[in-house]
């Protein structure tokens, strides 16, 4: 939007020294938030004495202009292109997968083979070299290590879970299948997080785990040795889900126990 109107000096001065009427002050303040030119002119007026009303007003205004627009969790989780790619890729995969699965004939194995890979890939990408906006500097801060990784994983989970299950239910996949990928996905992602505490490269572990999972789930159907849906229903069955839950909890517990090495590991 192009700014055409500017406040005159008298009005600006009245605002700056606190003598402007409340309504005028409020509307001028709204204008100053948008108008560089009037801010610059206000700044060049006679310097206000410290502690005066106008200093307080000027500080409050500067606060509102400069205050970063997003919340801390979003800034931790989505600051860099690497992090945004991780988040977007997992959301897109979970958005398109159920639709793709319902259009294609081999719908269930494809969905069950690929949906759990989304959280796993997202966690692996947050460990990437370029994921951290502040680079090595971030390692010397109290939040370094597992806290930052966990915040980023939580952000992916919070948005990916409703999208993945919601779209799956919407296109008419069975409820057991729409929810069945969650625990295997959590188990695989937790194993990648655990790899982050060792000397193994999380991206390599993620690629290996993801491929093994995808092949194991889709191969019996692809080779026509078993009916297409048997493996999917097996994954959605109570014993398999319980196993996934145990794996996820164990991996998370071990990751927390080994959290020290998250911050130290990547710097040697």
């Amino acid at each position: 939007m192009t700014q055409t109107w500017h406040a005159d000096e008298e009005t600006l001065r009245a605002w700056a020294d606190g003598s402007a009427a409340t309504v005028l002050a409020a509307s001028l303040e709204a204008h100053l938030l948008r108008c560089d030119e009037c801010r610059r002119r206000t700044a060049t007026l006679a310097p206000p004495t410290s502690g005066s009303d106008s200093v307080r007003r000027w500080d409050a205004l500067a606060d509102r202009i400069d205050r970063p627009r997003s919340r801390p969790l979003l800034r931790l989780g989505l600051a860099t292109p690497g992090l945004r790619t991780a988040w977007l890729a997992s959301i897109l995969l979970l958005l398109t997968l159920p639709v793709l699965a319902s259009v294609l004939d081999v719908r269930l194995p494809v969905f069950m083979a690929l949906a759990p890979v989304a959280p796993l890939a997202a966690v692996a990408l947050t460990y990437g070299r370029d994921a951290e906006p502040a680079g090595e500097l971030a390692l010397a801060t109290p939040t370094a290590g597992l806290r930052v990784v966990a915040a980023r994983a939580a952000l992916v989970a919070v948005s990916a879970v409703p999208v993945g299950t919601g779209v799956a239910l919407l296109v008419g996949l069975p409820t057991a299948v729409a929810f069945g990928w969650l625990l295997p996905g959590a188990a695989l992602a937790s194993l990648v997080a655990l790899a982050g505490t060792t000397r193994l490269e999380p991206a390599v572990v993620a690629a290996t785990l993801g491929s093994v999972w995808a092949v194991a789930v889709s191969w019996p159907a692809a080779s026509r040795r078993l009916p297409a849906d048997v493996v999917t229903h097996l994954v959605a069955s109570a014993p398999a889900q319980l196993t996934a839950l145990v794996v996820a909890l164990t991996a998370i517990a071990l990751t927390i126990a080994r959290r020290d090495s998250v911050a130290y590991r990547r710097t040697a």
Partner: protein, 290 residues
Amino acid sequence: MTTETTHTSTDTLLGAAGITKAFGPHTAVDHVDLALGPGIVGVLGPNGAGKTTLLRILATVLAPDRGALSLLGLDPAHPKARTEVRRRLGYLPQSPRLYGGFTPLEMVDYVAILKEQTDAGRRRREAVAVLEAVGLGDAMHKRIRTLSGGMQQRVALASALVGAPDLLVLDEPATGLDPEQRIALRSVLAETSHRGCVVLSTHNTAEVAALCQQVLVMDRGRICWSGTPTELAAEADGRVWESDVEEPTALRSWLTGPGTRRHLGTLPEGAAPAVPTVDDGYLLVTRLTR
């Protein structure tokens, strides 16, 4: 020549006993002992002497293989104590590699989030203050990738300074700064040194002379000398002279101007000793320990 400075245990902000770090067969830091109080400490040494590894250990981003460390009275080997140290720590890595899509204000604010500052208004005010202190007041809304190398270095420095840390670990903070900015850096660091400890590494002996109350000279992983800049210069007292010819008996000779040479070593008969500088002392110390 001493390897330790005397401070009472109450004002030791940074203590180390026998810290060692090896990368494979290469020992980067070899049994280093330190006892540092408030003030600015300069770490000098040739490339590969282990300065960066020592600073990364002091900044808690690298764990030593052996030895005990005490930072601000806490042992960073314990996770809780390490987090506590990091709350009061500012660190400038050798190559900061900051994300270019942020503005300086966003970057400093982001680092303040990592340093657990939850009040957005206070974060902003502090970020603006440190950016102004490093001379980036006019550039705080530009993208970092559009800034010059020296300005990017100062964004990283401002990120290290945010949160008023009691312990500042700076790996070559003056790299990429012009003389005027170096002078500004001095006053910023002097402020922190009143209440806390600043450890900085540098190649620049003139900077050490101007800035530091104490100097550590590192060579091949060890601290081979420590003392004040004046003491370091005094090491070369009566062992430095100038002439316009080569001196085969000198430990070290170099050109200082057209046709003028400066020499280090045993003064030949009849030669007049020159006034020693920190540079002379440093060159002599590193040469003698080899």
